[in-house]
Symmetry: C2
Subunit: 488 residues, 2 copies
């Protein structure tokens, strides 16, 4: 049975949380008196469906059930976790917690607050230990960071349980050691925000120029290494100490106006708003959101390929789910192609024609082949032990088109096999439609010696059993073709 | 004849400038009394060669000539532009400018200074109008930003000339409207730096936790949209005004300690340096630099695919150079395969055998094919107009192994072509070793009608010219093979 999360407050942040839980297979009950809540949440969810799956290399679990509750009691019933994202009014938050804890004593409550400390949030609660800060960053369904901040009233177990829930939905829980207002991220944002407002006010730069100064320069550094690791490099071979010696004195220079705060008045608001319109007014907000999401998907995939930073978080989340996916592949050999992979065409698989990019067909074949190798006992462990099947030759026929979101099935038929090699024929199906076939010759190699050798008896026995069963099947149409050869 | 730039000061920054000019085809003369200068610059250049070309989709120009001069006069002789990157001592900079301007009156001098204003730099110069700030961000060979800041002594023409030189080497010149210390980028870095030092000092977070708070969250946002465009989205449909109304009051909250500066003493240095060692000490600086560069290449390529932010700069730089490349081809293609892609095997391309995963060979082919299509005028714009080449059939032979970090070259030979199709043969080379061949039949389709049609005359003319030239080449060994067919 699916786990259940409760979302109180259905704005951009609440909607982002709802999307993250739903797409990770949790049921989600939303409470928000705003009559627009359902529309808003579904808008965020639609964006999330376009973006989050593009980060996953194992199929997403079936989406959870989304429901909207009329009362907080109904929303929290049977719920394992509550994420509170109401507006930043402490008395409102206290009222919400009171109702939640009355309806479901012992439920764990995480708050999206940008600045209140856990000890502020816990005031007046009968069970303060179950209230904690879990502060995310927009878009919640893509950015991994969740700042976990508790007070001395929270037990270590509560902190760890909250952190584990964040991991379960693919986030990176950062447990803050000391209670401070605004935690870590927002303190930096606040500092930069003040400096930026001064620059606008003083006419030094426009909003657009300031954004360019960030995204053309250090913003690109911070997205993958942050501040200190970047400066460590700037220090050169001598590292951080050298950097400090070199730049420490700058602390004394008049390089910031942060000793003071600009007056917040209509004039300042107009200045910022008008410049922002001039800069980005040509895009609607939804459009900007999709552009942002696709950029973030690009960054995150780049980091995932390099197994670095946020990309490492994505890999670990995949691995945790991959285990489940690979169960239940063990089928007895019949005279029919083996169905070995179920895939969905992800946004990241699409080329500028709007079709699944061609190399992904080969990727699908690899998924099928890997599943087959695991099936005959030639998986990771076998490779670790020094033997493996290498592809020698591959022939791909593109017969149809797969588009975003299409669900594909991969079947494998053994055309021939002996101790040292097998010839496989993989069909990539979209429902009943054959979109591609991949024929492949694989050789069994001793990786150390780097030459073809006979497979282990146990492996070959399994392979042969399947090959014998498949021998009754007709040679697939298109097998043995060469490029440029006439059809049929 | 190649344009010449002079680099005065050969540290990390000077070296980064040298690499950018050289890889963009400029000759570079370096002056730096440090006997280690040549070694340091070549180390930076080695990193740059691994990274910058990976951002280009048109062949890089032939690398310029690098020389090391014994005197400043020799270094600046015949030079069009000087980039000064000596240490931040105003009297030293003044001395450098005096010698440069004496040896080459009228040469344009850009300074890499992090904080001095142009009017400070110009003091005492006979030709102050030729001295201007061109402030880059490390790594200079990858990050596009160059802050151009002049005084009222600089003419608009000088500012524009400096900006154009930055564009010529693929950078994004940001002209600052008013003279201020530290320009724009460093003011933000300084603000964040101060806040970060406070957190360390107060034991709120470690250097690693602070870096995670940045790179798992807002750092990813800033790399592609900066501050204001991000907040505009946070404002939702109501946009920037709503955001200001919502978060403006925060200015009054105690969310930063920036009213004060932590005392800079050995204790603080040790704290930072020791934590930084614990965080990143397992990587050497050069190693960290390469990791950073590969991450940045990933970000920048992701943005380039989406034609956004820094990616837009890369595209425009390509387009400016593509013209030249096409001219070369219009002068008549030669009877040799076209070299169309330079790739490096990234960590994410590796399978559990430790080799480049097989579908990546097809990916490499796609990179080569896309470059070819752009070359014959069938790139994105052509596709948006409704026509495209689809792959019908692909035959891949795996002949060697590519491992992590290997640099691969992709060449393409046209075997046959007519109005409606072409047959290509791509070789993936690791140095002189052939690791894979990909033979492919591509059909020219009307995407709306979904059927094969003749290509646009302009496209076919380019294709035919190359096909005719390649007709003189022998049929590649292995072309026209079918799976399972005997060797030879």
């Amino acid at each position: 049975m699916a786990r259940k999360a409760t979302i109180v407050g259905g704005g951009v942040i609440g909607g982002g949380w709802a999307a993250r839980f739903l797409l990770n297979g949790w049921d989600v009950a939303v409470f928000d008196p705003d009559p627009e809540a359902a529309r808003k949440i579904n808008a965020v969810l639609a964006n999330a469906r376009l973006a989050l799956p593009a980060l996953s290399d194992v199929p997403m679990p079936p989406e959870g059930r989304l429901s909207f509750a009329d009362t907080m009691a109904e929303a929290v019933e049977g719920s394992e976790y509550v994420q509170e994202s109401v507006s930043e009014r402490i008395e409102l938050k206290h009222k919400v917690y009171a109702q939640l804890q009355q309806a479901n004593p012992g439920v764990l409550i995480g708050s999206s607050t940008s600045g209140f400390k856990a000890s502020d949030l816990q005031i007046g609660s009968p069970a303060p230990q179950n209230i904690i800060v879990a502060h995310p960053f927009n878009p919640v369904y893509l950015l991994p960071l969740s700042e976990i901040s508790g007070s001395e009233k929270n037990t270590e177990a509560t902190v760890q349980r909250t952190a584990q829930i964040m991991k379960d939905i693919g986030m990176f829980p950062l447990v803050i050691r000391k209670e401070i207002d605004a935690f870590i991220g927002n303190r930096f944002l606040e500092a930069v925000w003040r400096e930026a407002l001064w620059m606008l006010k003083d006419g030094v730069a426009t909003t657009e120029e300031i954004d360019e100064a960030i995204r053309m320069g250090f913003g690109l550094r911070w997205g993958q290494m942050g501040l200190f690791e970047t400066y460590r490099i700037a220090g050169g071979e001598a590292g951080m100490r050298h950097f400090m010696a070199q730049f420490g004195p700058a602390l004394k220079w008049p390089w910031t106006k942060l000793m003071d705060v600009p007056e917040f008045n209509d004039e300042l608001v107009d200045l910022v708003a008008n410049q922002s319109d001039a800069q980005s007014g040509m895009y609607g907000i939804r459009e900007l959101e999709r552009i942002r999401d696709q950029n973030l998907v690009g960054f995150l995939r780049a980091l995932k390929e390099r197994n670095w930073g946020a990309g490492k978080v994505l890999r670990e989340h995949d691995e945790a789910r991959a285990a489940l996916f690979h169960e239940g592949l063990d089928q007895g050999p019949k005279a029919e192609p083996l169905t070995l992979a179920h895939l969905q065409v992800l946004p990241g698989w699409i080329d500028y024609n709007g079709h699944m990019t061609e190399s992904r067909y080969y990727f699908c074949n690899s998924e099928v082949a890997d599943a087959f190798l695991r099936l005959i006992g030639a998986g990771m462990d076998y490779v670790e032990a020094g033997h493996s099947y290498y592809s020698a030759e591959t022939h791909i026929r593109h017969l149809g088109e797969a588009k975003l979101g299409d669900r594909l099935t991969g079947t494998l038929q053994i055309i021939s096999a002996d101790e040292k090699r097998f010839r496989s024929f993989v069909r990539i199906m979209k429902g009943e439609e054959l979109v591609a076939t991949i024929e492949q010759l694989c050789l069994h190699v001793d990786m150390k010696a780097g030459r073809t050798v006979a497979a282990a008896p146990g492996v070959y026995a399994k392979l042969k059993a399947i090959a014998d069963a498949h021998a009754e099947l007709p040679l697939p149409q298109g097998a043995g073709r060469a490029i440029g050869q006439k059809k049929g």
